[in-house]
């Protein structure tokens, strides 16, 4: 009987193993093609956006379009909408008229790099807080009922109102010789926005394992901690990735807005404000800062894409 039962097993083995490597290869191949196609699409989208900009400039009225005295279309003159090549050329020219001034490209890159680090700090802090909240809410039913409404409520507080509070509280903090830095306030505000999607997404993910999976772990007399590490967290990954995508975007927006509303120097948010003051004399300049902010968003999205790639094993099969 052992022989008889082994036979179907080998049959299955042939059926299972035969097409399997081919399938994997095809999937991988498709993955590369997909990545290449996506890259080509974003390049095309970029070109199209530039073309639309120039196209509008070509046909749009210098005064913009007005409807019943209200301007509904932007002005297409060079002061409001400089040519794309003007903006790109502005990157190469010095930031200020003073001698020895570095180029705008350097200033914008510096700003982007500063804000990127602050946003990442906020992002990481937000993830930690969000995960912690989710774990607590999963562990204690009461905590879920008590905390979740406040988690949702937290996002209705306007950022502009929050900024001075954070700066005020932070200013009073001092740990040893380390005093509160302005960038820390910015990171905290970024984290305040970033934690929310993580908390909500992770909670759903941690609750996602079916009853029989949880009971299986219980039958092994696994501790709560072991169940968390071996079952709940891995099962939460598919819920976590989209949450991280939202959180990364929130962290970037939060960091830029927080820089502006706390008056923190050195970041891209500050540059947006500074350059916009020169907008009448030097209209192309402010757009370089906008492009810098957009690049920052892309960098943050790239970071999540990397995390997604690293956690691919935990994704449902059909999406892998």
């Amino acid at each position: 009987m052992t022989g008889a039962s082994a036979e179907p097993a080998t049959q299955l083995a042939v059926l299972g193993a035969g097409p399997e490597p081919a399938r994997v290869r095809r999937l991988r191949g498709r993955g590369w093609v997909r990545a290449a196609r996506r890259a080509a699409m974003s390049a095309i989208a970029l070109v199209l956006a530039a073309a639309a900009w120039e196209g509008y400039k070509a046909v749009g009225s210098e005064d913009g379009g007005s409807l019943l005295g209200v301007r509904v279309l932007p002005r297409a003159d060079d002061a409001s909408m400089p040519h794309v090549w003007e903006i790109l050329r502005r990157f190469g020219r010095p930031e200020t008229a003073g001698t020895g001034s570095h180029s705008v490209a350097v200033a914008v890159l510096d700003g982007v790099w500063f804000t990127f680090r602050v946003a990442v700090a906020g992002f990481v802090l937000g993830i930690l807080v969000g995960l912690l909240l989710a774990v607590v809410m999963q562990r204690f039913r009461l905590a879920e009922r008590g905390l979740l409404p406040y988690v949702v409520l937290s996002q209705t507080v306007p950022l502009v109102a929050l900024a001075p509070l954070v700066v005020g509280w932070g200013g009073r903090l001092r740990v040893g010789s380390v005093s509160w830095q302005p960038w820390m306030s910015v990171a905290v505000i970024a984290a305040y926005l970033a934690f929310f999607p993580v908390a909500v997404g992770a909670l759903r993910g941690l609750q996602s394992p079916p009853g029989h999976a949880v009971e299986l772990l219980r039958s092994y007399s696994a501790t709560w901690w072991q169940t968390l590490l071996r079952l709940r967290l891995p099962a939460a990954v598919p819920y976590l990735i989209p949450a991280l995508r939202l959180a990364a975007a929130s962290a970037v927006v939060g960091a830029i807005v927080a820089e502006i509303s706390t008056g923190t120097r050195g970041g891209i948010g500050r540059l947006v404000i500074e350059y916009s003051r020169e907008a009448t004399a030097d209209p192309a300049k402010v757009y370089t800062a906008f492009l810098g902010a957009a690049a920052l968003g892309l960098a943050a999205a790239g970071l999540v894409a990397l995390a997604d790639l690293a956690l691919r094993r935990y994704r449902p099969v059909q999406e892998r």
């Binding site: 052992t2 039962s5 097993a9 079916p210 009971e215 772990l217």
Partner: protein, 277 residues
């Protein structure tokens, strides 16, 4: 014959499972629901016992009581001579559900290793054991595959291997073949019969299928619903399980006996009795 085995087993070691007057009442929103009442059941070491009955007869609840996944509201349970809780903490039993419930982020071998990992076995020993078990369930070349690359039947074999990982003396199975097609199902029944013979584990098996119960069991426990009670037990003495036995007249006789017990007057009587309570 079975009684003899039971007596000799009782002399040397405690019964695999011993239930005395076990009851379970669920407190629902619309009052209390009696899932089980007055269950007396002993499974001797090495015995294969199947619980069969209509939906809602509490057979799964009974299994979950033995597994300490829920607690009785009346009576006492002993598993390997211990409290169910102690037996669970000692990982005295392995369990398999209708859903294979394999973790797709782990390879097949790592799924089987999971209970061993939680017991603190080192990596080499774990892998060695997983390889052994994959051999036992006829899937030796699938150690590094993802569970999702396997068919439903193969996944269920892996789940059985996982249940056997720590070498438990007792296997608890809740309709493990319920989601499989008939062909796969019969093949896995044969596999399970062989595995039980080789590992000498005691088994408590829950099923809806009468032929499955008769084919696998030393004893079929027939239950009725509301509240769940044992209405009859049918001893099956068919000797070694081969494919031929499925066509044998003795097999059909036992199938008929179980079917009649399921429909039987005694079942009806206990339902009426249950309603009076």
């Amino acid at each position: 014959m079975l009684a003899g085995v039971g007596e000799s087993g009782a002399g040397t070691s405690p019964a695999a499972v011993e239930l005395t007057g076990v009851g379970k009442v669920f407190a629902g929103r619309s009052g209390e629901v009696a899932a089980l009442a007055g269950i007396d059941l002993t499974v001797v070491v090495g015995e294969f016992v199947t619980l069969i009955g209509p939906s809602g007869c509490g057979k799964s609840t009974l299994l979950r009581l033995v597994a300490d996944l829920t607690e009785p509201t009346a009576g006492t349970l002993r598993v390997n001579g211990k409290s169910p809780r102690q037996a669970r903490l000692d990982q005295d039993y392995g369990i398999a559900f209708q859903q294979a419930g394999l973790m797709d982020w782990r390879s097949v071998a790592r799924n089987i290793e999971l209970p061993l990992e939680l017991r603190g076995w080192d990596r080499r020993r774990r892998r060695q054991r997983a390889v052994e078990l994959l051999e036992l369930v006829g899937l030796p070349e699938f150690a590094d595959h993802r569970p999702s690359e396997l068919s439903g039947g193969m996944q269920q074999r892996v789940a059985i291997a996982r249940a056997l990982a720590a070498g438990p003396r007792l296997l608890l199975m809740d309709e493990p073949f319920g989601a499989l097609d008939e062909m796969t199902r019969e093949r896995l029944q044969a596999e399970l019969a062989r595995i039980c013979r080789e590992t000498e584990a005691s088994v408590v098996f829950v099923t809806h299928s009468i032929p499955e119960a008769v084919y696998l069991s030393d004893r079929v426990v027939v239950m009725s619903a509301r509240p769940g009670r044992v209405t009859r037990t049918v001893d099956v003495e068919l000797g070694e399980r081969t494919e031929e036995i499925r066509g044998a007249p003795e097999f059909f006789a036992k199938v008929t006996e179980v079917r009649e017990a399921l429909r039987g007057r005694r079942g009806a009587g206990s339902v009426a009795e249950g309603a009076q309570r």
